[in-house]
């Protein structure tokens, strides 16, 4: 007889006893760490090497980006609440939290669009200097990941609206959640190593 902890799927007849889809998602997330790690390393290698402006401390708006970071963190909470809702069979809660997560993701993307266009108006483009090239590449790829996440969330929301996301299929929401939380933890790192380290005190100290 199988005993399953609450929140976990019943053991499957696989060599590990684990769901292959979840295993695959974790393998993907592990490899995506390397992708973002390479982009972050490139940003750090060229940090302070631009010979023309605009420079980071001239364009960054820490309070504004802090609000964006807070929005993305909040979306992680709504995401796990969506998972908890489907696991207890609360379809109404599932739809509400999925939609809230997608909306918060949309707000983050809107904020990033506003930030990018502001920077471009101030002369910072992909070609302007090393800072522009590495900054837009890193944050642009993160934004692309968020966009994919929003599309996944909206597709799950529509599926739930049509009544095709019953409690038994909670793994679909869990997998989307893993991806979404990964996007969140990547932003936690970017927020620190790209934005906060350019704060006046650190720049002044260096």
């Amino acid at each position: 007889m199988h005993v399953t902890a609450p929140g976990h799927a019943a053991p499957l007849e696989t060599s590990t006893g684990l769901d292959h889809r979840k295993l695959l998602m974790w393998a993907f997330l592990g490899s995506d760490c390397l992708f973002f790690g390479s982009l972050i390393a490139t940003y750090l290698l060229y940090r302070g090497k631009s010979i023309t402006g605009p420079y980071p401390h001239e364009v960054f708006n820490i309070p504004y980006t802090s609000v964006s970071a807070f929005v993305l963190l909040t979306s992680s909470l709504t995401m796990v609440l969506a998972l908890a809702a489907i696991q207890r069979g609360d379809q109404r809660g599932l739809k509400a939290w999925l939609l809230a997560t997608a909306l918060l993701g949309g707000v983050f993307l809107g904020g990033q669009y506003f930030e990018f266009t502001t920077f471009i108006r101030e002369g910072l483009t992909l070609r302007a200097n090393l800072f522009g090239s590495t900054f837009f590449t890193l944050t642009g790829f993160h934004g692309a990941h968020v966009t994919v996440g929003v599309i996944i969330l909206l597709s799950l929301f529509v599926t739930a609206l049509r009544g095709r996301l019953p409690r038994e299929r909670h793994l679909n929401v869990e997998l989307a959640g893993l991806y979404w939380h990964f996007v969140d933890v990547v932003w936690i790192v970017i927020f620190t190593v790209v934005y906060l380290v350019e704060a006046p005190n650190i720049v002044g100290a260096g």
Binding site: A5, I62, P63, S76, M79, F182, P200, N201
Partner: protein, 100 residues
């Protein structure tokens, strides 16, 4: 064959998820406040790195359920993270960013 899969525990409750969110919010506020404190200038970088790592760990452990799920999932993710850290340190050392 044995019954339950090893080392799997029940996922947290919504109340616990919300408590983690509050901690994350407080840590973020501390981070942002710290960068404007002149007296912290000399130790700001390590403080920010520790706070960032704390937030990362909280999300991975509680929201991604690594604290409650099978260890194989943790191994896949932490393995990727360790490889990433190794590559990052090697590149920064190679380009003399962290080693003169």
């Amino acid at each position: 064959m044995s019954s339950a899969r090893p080392r799997e525990r029940a996922h947290p409750t919504p109340a616990r998820y919300t408590a983690v969110a509050l901690v994350l919010a407080v840590v973020t506020i501390v981070e942002v406040t710290a960068v404007y404190q002149a007296f912290l200038a000399d130790i700001l970088l390590p403080i920010l790195l520790v706070l960032s790592a704390t937030k990362f760990a909280l999300v991975a452990m509680f929201y991604m359920h690594l604290r409650f799920d099978h260890r194989l999932f943790s191994a896949l993710f932490v393995g990727g993270l360790l490889l990433t850290a190794g590559i990052l340190i090697a590149l920064l050392a190679l380009f003399r960013v962290i080693v003169q």
